[in-house]
Amino acid sequence: MPPSIHPVDLVATLRQRNLTPAIIFLTSRRACDEAMQSFERSQVTLPKAQQDQIARVLAQVTEQYPSIAEHPLIDTVQRIGVAAHHAGHLPSWKIAVEELMRTGSLDAVFATTTLAAGVDFPARTVVVTQSSIRKARDFTDLTASEIQQLAGRAGRRGKDLVGFAVITPSPYIDLTVLTKGLTGQPEAIHSQFVISYPMVLNLLKAHPREQIQSILAKSFAQFQLNQRTAVLETKLDGLRAEMEPFGPRVCSDWITQWQVFDQARKRKKPRGLGARQESPDVAARLHFLTPGRVVGLTRGRGIILRQYRSKGQHAPMVTLLRDGGSLNECPASIVTQVFDRTFDCEETSAYPWCTPQTLEQLTHHLLDLPPRLPILPILTHQNEEIPLDSSIIQTLGDFACPTCPSRQACQRDFPRASRVRQDIQRHMKSIQALQTSLWHRFQERIDVLERFGYLNATAQLTADGEWARLIRIDHSLLITELIRAEAFGAIDPPLLAAVMASIAHDDDRPGSFPRGSAGLVTLLFQVRKLAESLAPHEAPPMLRADVAALTERWVADQTLTWIGLARLTTMAEGDMFRLFARTIEFLSQLKTLKATHPSLAESADQAIAGMRRGVLEELP
């Protein structure tokens, strides 16, 4: 989101208050470019002297980096004394802007926050327009360190008596984040130690496996893990002190003892209560309590309309039509006698559980019943006492607890003691995990490398491992596997450069680019297949076909100029430059395999030579 103040007004205000030169941090490259465009339309022009100074500095820098001369913004910058500086620009242009700022020729620079981390040029004033930045795919609040890095650019040593950090709001800004960041302490930093395949190979090359653990122990990661361990250990000491009063009693491990006894006791209980809740005669009668049956109750008689189980307790229930025509829902135990008399009953699925006609008939029948009715004799199984499970009886018998003198104390203390003991065990486990996690991760890597044949069973480097350890870049496993699969057998330099570019490029900024050659498409397909098969061991790269095609074009067509290349794509020049620079870095790693893979190294060398021309040659 651009700031709510118009960029031209913003710069005008800063000029008027004598707060220039200023760095204005905006959220996106687009916001920077749009701010510049708004100046192109405005009528502001600098005094002649300042314009001349800018021209002088630019001419100086252009001597070293000729590509600046072609930059479309030169006239605007010279006229208005304001420039943009972001990752979409070529490094040479950024150097020019930095030089202009250093010489104090510019009034303001619109920059993205990436500037704060790297390049070092200060100003009198820093303008902050946001409280969050895009990281990965989401916006996160700026941290105190980041805010202080931004604000830290304000005030040039030896050129300013004071520096200013000015906040101007844009939508979604959160002022408290910024005020807290400005006044607060920078955050603590945490180790980001990851164990990569090249690290494993290189460590095992120089040290036997037995020494690795002590090397890992020297990492900042382990140092910080140890700090956490120390915290846990003090907690553990506290817990142990809390455990003091629960020391050995009659039995040395009374907590376990009591726990087992308690469980045995509890397991016994449900047997007595659970399954057989209804008494034997109720259970026996249940089968006869069908709709239409006449039953005797403690007082009077009734006709059953339905039988069901209660929702919660699953107690047997009946719906009864009673003398006087009332309908009742009662527990089945209310029935004292079952008569040998049933009436037809047309059932329905809802209250009153039979058709109205039936209900009327039944009411009449109930009134007309003779006073004596034959009783249905029902056999009740007097179920004999089920003996307790013999094993439990036995174990219960084994426990001394019921008669133990400390039984009461045990029963009282058990809940707390067992909780404390659980905490102690949990803490001890975490401490152990903290101590060994790095080594475990290392071993996991060893296992993978062994499976792929870079290490032998005793964790020594195989012939493949010897050269693979020289590939010390991201996606190293994919690259070494590609080499072993002879995907790069007798590969042309442009094709090699293209594949490496697609592996190296990790930006998902969209763009439209030329199409690759048929050979490249096939090769990329194979690379993608291999990368997917390696996915469990190494996150696959993005493998964008369009950046590969762009790189292929650049290496294959040596007459193509940088401007011509830029016309083929919507990618920003700065992004193209970074893509190529990174690709060259990857290729130069392949170049180190001269001894084992001479043709690949040669191809990589030629690819590098093919890439380094134009803008790429002018800058290291």
């Binding site: 103040i5 913003l10 005008a12 205000t13 790297g118 390049v119 070092d120 009198r124 989401d138 609040d141 360190s145 202080q148 604000a151 830290g152 650019r153 304000a154 005030g155 050129k159 300013d160 008596l161 004071v162 520096g163 200013f164 000015v166 906040i167 101007t168 709001p169 939508p171 979604y172 959160d174 002022l175 408290t176 005020t179 400005l182 006044t183 607060g184 302490q185 920078p186 955050e187 603590a188 930093i189 945490h190 180790s191 980001q192 130690f193 990569s196 690290m199 290189n202 090359k205 040290h207 090397i215 020297k218 900042f220 140092f223 910080q224 350890r469 010390r472 870095e585 130069s588 290291p620």
Partner: protein, 356 residues
């Protein structure tokens, strides 16, 4: 509070407040309109409704304080339902206002005064710079100072001293661009023959006594040396300077700094230059634990050029951000009443209009 009540309450809040509420709960919340945002909030907080409610209450409270700080005449209170939560707050004077009774907020004129160029003075190193150099003669040093305090001076002086003793110096930086800048700068200072550069794709004067490289390159050199392959002049290596050491915490590249520090030869001195970080002592302690000599920490938080913070309203009105001219460290609530009023106005204006 029922879902319906909560929804009504959310509906009455300005959208900016909802966005603040959504932070950490909903990803990409800035994309949604008010209605959608409320739905998302209700959805997201299905698990933890009390958490949402208490956060909401806190935000409303904060907002109402802001409104109280604003004179009643300039802005009529928007219709807000009765909120029992605010009543105990309203009786208590705000800390900032309490403070204000003793010390009136700084005026814009005062705040702006003192702009200008200091008179040229002969360069005198700061106490911490002298201290760092003295300590470096004995042992490893970690420097954590604010941006722009003059870390480079320490690096240059230390390099000079090491080169006088005929020892090799390696200077690493996280970015190729920075390496190039330093290469140009040091070549000017020490003479082009004295300075070499090694980056992913550039090698110049690789035998020079002062080598500038990216940290990755140094890591690779150390690995190669450990593997017994190449002869880097590690025996004569006297000083390793690592600029921007806070990169140790970089999610992708931080591990390279660790590897480099672990394998750095023990006879070489280490000089770690870092921007202000929260726990420089940890780094010093760590290095003390893994290196032969105890590591000294140079830390200071005072900026060499004092900093002032301001607030610029979209209508071009400029005010100080805090009641004090300088930054009131540790007291973020000491906002200048004028800045507070203008920002509340801004939120009021932009908030609801965007939801329409």
């Amino acid at each position: 509070m029922t879902t319906h009540e909560l929804e009504q309450l959310l509906l009455q809040q300005p959208v900016s407040l909802l966005h603040r509420l959504a932070r950490g709960r909903i990803s990409r919340h800035f994309r949604s309109g008010k209605r959608k945002l409320i739905d998302l909030l209700l959805q997201a907080s299905a698990e933890n409704r009390p958490g949402l409610e208490s956060d909401l209450a806190a935000l409303i409270e904060e907002q109402s304080q802001r409104q109280q700080a604003r004179p009643a005449a300039t802005a009529p209170k928007p219709k807000v339902p009765a909120r029992p939560a605010t009543s105990p707050i309203s009786t208590r004077p705000h800390r900032a206002e309490e403070h204000g009774h003793h010390e009136p907020p700084v005026s814009l004129h005062e705040w702006l005064s003192g702009i200008g160029v200091p008179q040229a003075q002969p360069f005198v190193p700061d106490a911490w710079q002298v201290d760092a150099l003295a300590k470096l003669a004995e042992t490893d040093v970690v420097v954590s100072v604010p941006t722009g305090s003059g870390k480079t001076y320490v690096a240059i002086e230390a390099t000079k001293r090491a080169m006088q003793e005929n020892r090799t110096v390696i200077y690493t930086s996280p970015l190729k661009a920075l390496s190039n800048t330093k290469f140009t700068e040091f070549s000017r200072l020490f003479g082009p023959e004295q300075v070499g550069i090694l980056t992913g794709d550039r090698r110049e004067h690789a035998q020079a006594p002062l080598l500038i490289m990216t940290t990755e390159i140094l890591r690779n050199l150390l690995y190669d040396a450990a593997g017994g392959e190449i002869d880097v002049r590690l025996d004569t290596l006297g000083l390793v300077i690592m600029d921007e050491s806070q990169y140790l915490a970089d999610p992708e590249r931080g591990v390279v700094w660790e590897e480099t520090l672990i394998f750095c030869p023990s006879q070489a001195r280490l000089l770690l230059l870092s921007a202000s970080i929260g726990n420089p002592q940890d780094i010093a302690d760590w290095l003390t634990a893994i290196r032969p000599n105890p590591c000294a920490l140079i830390r200071h938080t005072k900026r060499s050029v004092p900093l002032r913070a301001g607030y610029l309203h979209p209508n071009e009105k400029l005010t100080p951000l805090f009641r004090t001219a300088g930054i009131p460290y540790g007291q973020p609530h000491l906002l200048h009443p004028e800045a507070k009023r203008l920002f509340a106005e801004y939120e009021e204006e932009t908030g609801p209009s965007r939801s329409r």
